[in-house]
Every structure is written in structure tokens, then in C-alpha cells.
Subunit: 213 residues, 2 copies
């Protein structure tokens, strides 16, 4: 570290922008295992994450047993079939061809929850907007995602799931709200263009519009 | 950029971890203005952000007029007084001494919303969990926050606000859900320990517990 603490160089900023471009949702994984110490190092990003009132409401479950994985995968397949039924015409045809989860191949699966009932933080900052606890978990996942990508690892966030069924299948406490199912592993291919853009599903906006009040 | 595209060095990873430690919620700002081109550069992080179905549901408002700022600040003061009334004993005394917003000093204010009614992305990934649109906005804010911090800028996320009143005061479309009010500027002091930890409100967990299913 050649810079003073908390100060960063233009070179670092360029690399950070590059990292953000490469932080993509990955659905095509190699089945090769991910070294445990690598994952532990990346998980340490949670300790730096934003959390409302310092409530640290994230709860992580490693989904490992064949039974638990099968339950989650079946949940995805059911929810995805329903989602497909909600599309029509060309969009339905395109949807059916999209690969929307790497659950069959990714070596590491994490189900992430938010403990809405935590007393940590004594409710500070979450009075008018209790959803900020869930937002804290999302911010932490985002940091974790960047840390993984900086190690060459990919993450795919699966949200096409019935959250109540998933919480039941994984037998989590009542106060835990499901946030996201994360598939983690080595990407099958390196690409920094979102898969939904490559497939023609949607394009990214060319500019960010900021209005003024 | 000396590394192959999408690959990052151990030095970069160390600096990234350092940046994450320095990404703190800032409530004490200098009033000095922030150069517009710096903000624009940091806002480009939104283009790399995760968004469900590529829906890019973020909507940003720069809160600039004295009227708009006063309305938001009054909203915070009212919500904060109610939150204080909900604390008791020593916690109430401590709460009353906390500085929970930099709204009076920060030169740049951004109100961030999620357009729950957007047709962009055709609903992909948000069928069973519509809240993933809001989560996309939170992920984008997290990237923006890191980009700001890499430039030495601080961000303070204010959530002690009545979201309905804020949406009304800023006259936003009905489908916009309020996510967070961001105060941005140069930090008054450099510190990588959360203010709530320094004040004795709450401590961070020493370890991250990951259970297995």
C-alpha cells in the first residue's frame, strides 16, 4: 500500500472501474471446486458492509446436501415455468432459450437472508423504512460479489424462486426474509457483456438521466 | 492496465479490501462544492450495476432548490424526533447525541428511487420477488459509493425519513419507490471506524457465521 490510508490512486480507480464492468451475473460455471480459503477471504467483505444502525442483519446458509439442493432447484424450475407462462410471443420463445441459473453446475451455493427480527442496532435508522435492513444485506452481497470477481470467481444471483417455499425447505427462523440465492464458481467463459444483452433480451441505457428538484 | 482483461492482481485485491474498509457512512461534511465532472465519473458506476432482467430501475433526483432541501430536511427532523421517542433510558440519551444526517452541510443531495412500474426487462427475474428491482438500485448505489470513496468523497445514506411524504414533496411519479437519500461531499475527517461504533451505539460482529443445510 503506497498511498496514505484511505487514499487511492488514479491507477486503482481505473482498475476499480474495470472490476465493476467485469462484475457480471454468471450462469455458466465450471464444476471445479472453489478453495475454501478463497471463499472465506471474499466473505470478509461482509465485515466492511453498510448496515443500517450497525444491525448486520445478513444470515448466510451454505446449501450443500443433495436434498437441500434438489429442493431449491425444483423451486427454481417451478417458478421459472410460471414466469415463462407469463411471457408471450417472441419474448416467450426467447425466454425459453435463456439460461437463468447455474444451480446445476455451480460448486458453491449460498442462500442469503435478512433477519428482520434482529435487535442488533436497536432499530436505529429502520423505523420509517424497515426495508433498509434488507438493503443492507444487498449492499453486503454487492461487496462480496466484487471481492469474488477480483479473484476470478463468478456469482449468479437467482431470484426466480418462491421465497416462502425456500425458507420452509431450508427450515430457517420465521424472522428471516429471503434475499437471494447465490451460485458461485469459476465462470465457463470470460465476458463482460451481460448475458441478457448478448441474447437480445434487453439493452443497457446509453446515459444516466439525473433530474433536478 | 497491466493485467489481462478481467484479471486482477493481489495488490489490487489488497487495495480493494482497503477501499471497502474506508467505505463508511459519512455524516460530517465540509461545505466545499464537489466538481461536477467528478460526480459524473462516479455516477458512471450505475452503468455497470447489477439489475434484475436488465431493468435498470434506478431513478435519480438531484435535490437542489432551497424549498426541496428544506422539505426533505424537515422530513428527517420529524422522523428523527419520532425515532428518538421510540428509544428509552440510556439508549435514548445516546441517540439524542448522535449525528445521523449531513443534510445541513453536504453540498450534493441525491434522492434515489426505484421505478417499480418500469417495463424495461419485461419483468424477467422479478416475478416471484418484485423487491429485486429495489435490490438492484441498492447494488448500484453500493458501486457508486465505492467510486466516490476512491475519489476521497464521502456518502451518507439517510433512511430516517417518511418515504411517502418525501415522494410527495419531490413530486415523483406514483410508480417510484423511495430507496434512499444520499448526502455527498468531502468528509470533515478521515476515519474508517463506523461512527455508531465509535459512539458506543453498537459493535460489529467479530466473525461471520455460515450455517450449512
Amino acid at each position: 500500500m503506497t498511498n496514505p490510508p484511505g487514499q487511492f490512486s488514479p491507477t486503482f480507480r481505473d482498475e476499480l472501474a474495470e472490476l465493476m464492468r467485469w462484475r457480471r451475473d454468471v450462469r455458466r460455471f465450471l464444476t471445479a471446486p472453489v478453495p475454501a480459503d478463497l471463499v472465506t477471504r471474499c466473505l470478509s467483505a461482509f465485515a466492511s458492509a453498510l448496515s443500517v444502525g450497525l444491525s448486520e442483519p445478513w444470515r448466510l446458509l451454505r446449501v450443500e446436501s443433495p436434498e437441500a439442493r434438489q429442493a431449491c432447484h425444483a423451486n427454481f424450475r417451478g417458478s421459472n415455468a410460471k414466469a415463462l407462462a407469463g411471457q408471450s410471443g417472441e419474448k416467450a420463445q426467447l425466454y425459453s432459450q435463456l439460461k437463468l441459473s447455474g444451480m446445476a453446475e455451480a460448486p458453491l451455493h449460498l442462500a442469503v437472508f435478512c433477519d428482520d427480527g434482529t435487535s442488533k442496532g436497536s432499530g436505529l435508522g429502520a423505523g420509517t423504512m424497515p426495508e433498509t435492513r434488507a438493503y443492507s444485506v444487498v449492499g453486503a452481497i454487492t461487496l462480496f460479489w466484487l471481492a469474488l470477481r477480483a479473484e476470478g470467481l463468478g456469482l449468479g444471483w437467482v431470484s426466480i424462486l418462491d421465497p416462502d417455499r425456500l425458507a420452509r425447505d431450508l427450515a430457517v427462523p420465521d424472522s428471516w426474509r429471503f434475499i437471494g440465492y447465490l451460485c458461485i464458481g469459476w465462470p465457463e467463459e470470460e465476458n463482460c457483456v451481460p448475458e441478457l444483452e448478448r441474447s437480445g433480451w434487453e439493452t443497457r441505457a446509453a446515459t444516466l438521466h439525473v433530474d433536478t428538484r
